[in-house]
Symmetry: C2
Subunit: 339 residues, 2 copies
Amino acid sequence: MTQQMGSWSLQFAEAPFILSSASVAGKKEGEGPLGKLFDMVCGSDKFGEDSWEESESTMQKEAAALAMGKAELEPSDIRYIFAGDLLGQTIATSFGLMNYEIPLFGLYGACSTCGEALSLGAMCVAAGYADHVMAITSSHFASAEKQFRFPVEYANQRPLSATWTVTGSGAFVIGKKQSRGKACITGITTGVITDYGIRDSMNMGAAMAPAAARLIVQNFKDFGCGPKDYDLIITGDLGYVGQEILWKLVGDEGYDISKNHTDCGIEIFDCETQGTQSGGSGCGCSATTLSAHFLPQVESGKLKRILFVPTGAMLSQVSFNEGQNVPGTAHGVVIEYTG
Amino acid sequence: MTQQMGSWSLQFAEAPFILSSASVAGKKEGEGPLGKLFDMVCGSDKFGEDSWEESESTMQKEAAALAMGKAELEPSDIRYIFAGDLLGQTIATSFGLMNYEIPLFGLYGACSTCGEALSLGAMCVAAGYADHVMAITSSHFASAEKQFRFPVEYANQRPLSATWTVTGSGAFVIGKKQSRGKACITGITTGVITDYGIRDSMNMGAAMAPAAARLIVQNFKDFGCGPKDYDLIITGDLGYVGQEILWKLVGDEGYDISKNHTDCGIEIFDCETQGTQSGGSGCGCSATTLSAHFLPQVESGKLKRILFVPTGAMLSQVSFNEGQNVPGTAHGVVIEYTG
């Protein structure tokens, strides 16, 4: 029987497996430190489409096809898709995945959506509701800048605290039976929205770090564990600015995660040479970095147990222009090597 | 053991109960046929706030408080919230429910989100992941018009096929034990996104009817039943225009639902006197109408078994302006009287 652990967490009695995953990324991501690891890199960020939004949809479609292909499954084998993106009304998802004709639960957790999708997907499989589900998210630099800040053509200046939205999509097939893949999702910790009063849309790291800190500390409490019980604690897109705040806030609660914490936004770009300031961000940042970089290390047994914590900022053009704060959220997923 | 029925449906072995629900509505809705049934009606649609978006958030907050109060539960008794709205980045939800500090799964299924939230909430409770969860959605006429079409001040003309976005929020507490409430969720049918090529943002009924038709027919097939097995089949917000298309499409598949079909968008307004054209729409339309009008009839045993099918149109300002179609989706929930 799956157990309710503490107030925010679940531990699965029969942990669902991540059977396969795939990553599709843009040009800049392809030139970064993880460039050679992605399954597909597009040279133009357009992916053959006429608009940035359609390009993002195409990334989701391709990532889904690759993930299903690796698991040797057809769309008809996938019972549910759990998916989302950053755009208004999650159009990248709706238009990208429509043609697969798979029952779809559309999600919105800002940049934490990858964690939300993996959580709900794992819950669904562990309960016996599906043999296979897919979790998929995406972001695109140009569609996100247009959605949240300024059109790319405006060429606004970017402060050092700004992050660079990753052009990419990651897809994960979760299944009950270990047909392949040696990574399983053993537990989840689901975040609450946390508002520390940040109002700077160019400092998402600061907006999200408090939610990530609360989630990580709650995960330790709920599972009766600590930093040493994870080979790595991996946040989604705090970047260097958010990481510093995270370490401080978690430290204030008596835990030192500075030895084994990293952030997908820090891993995916070389900020020194790529001009990405604090780091990468977006739904596609954590999804592609997990798929291309960290999951293979779990599958090979190099990493035995990780806490994957995609982070999200509750920012919208409308709420921002109305003077609202930017609260944060996070979704934690415990992923283990199964031998 | 919960059973996977056909390709789109689940039947719960231990059906979760709807322990309580609450509805909060605006002025126009309060003047309509269901006006006296809502738990709270605001005289100004502002709900004491300065912006339409904050008003919508406040509706969600109030609906949640009322639903928890009716179930005699505190926020700390609710393990998860499944919630969403129509606005970009679902800000009505994030800002409205933040202060409850409850782990939140943010959803986007356009106007079908009430069905999506009830489905995931029921799945979660039936699996033993939570003793109590809350499903909640909202929409607001003014925030939705600004989001999707024109600011209200622009005073655009509305064709006869247009629907009127309901200002309202409905919240539902779902629980494992029948402490109160005599309605339970016995099954769900999860929709796929369906595109019949509609491009008219003033005719959402036509955009959503194909998805609703496919979902209803699939529900019949998955559960081996037909129209006669439901006292009522209730779509979310097709309005009169969408209803006519729905009956035709379902009829083409050999089922006559004209005797026992109705639509929340048809029920909530008196279109003759209230100038709401084809009917009501929005995430708040199906949620408030289920809570205030239909659920009490199930709880009293007047309705023994209903198929509740909130319908959604995958419309966004951006996709619409880029010339994309408006595909539809739907989420079906089977609700039964438990005696």
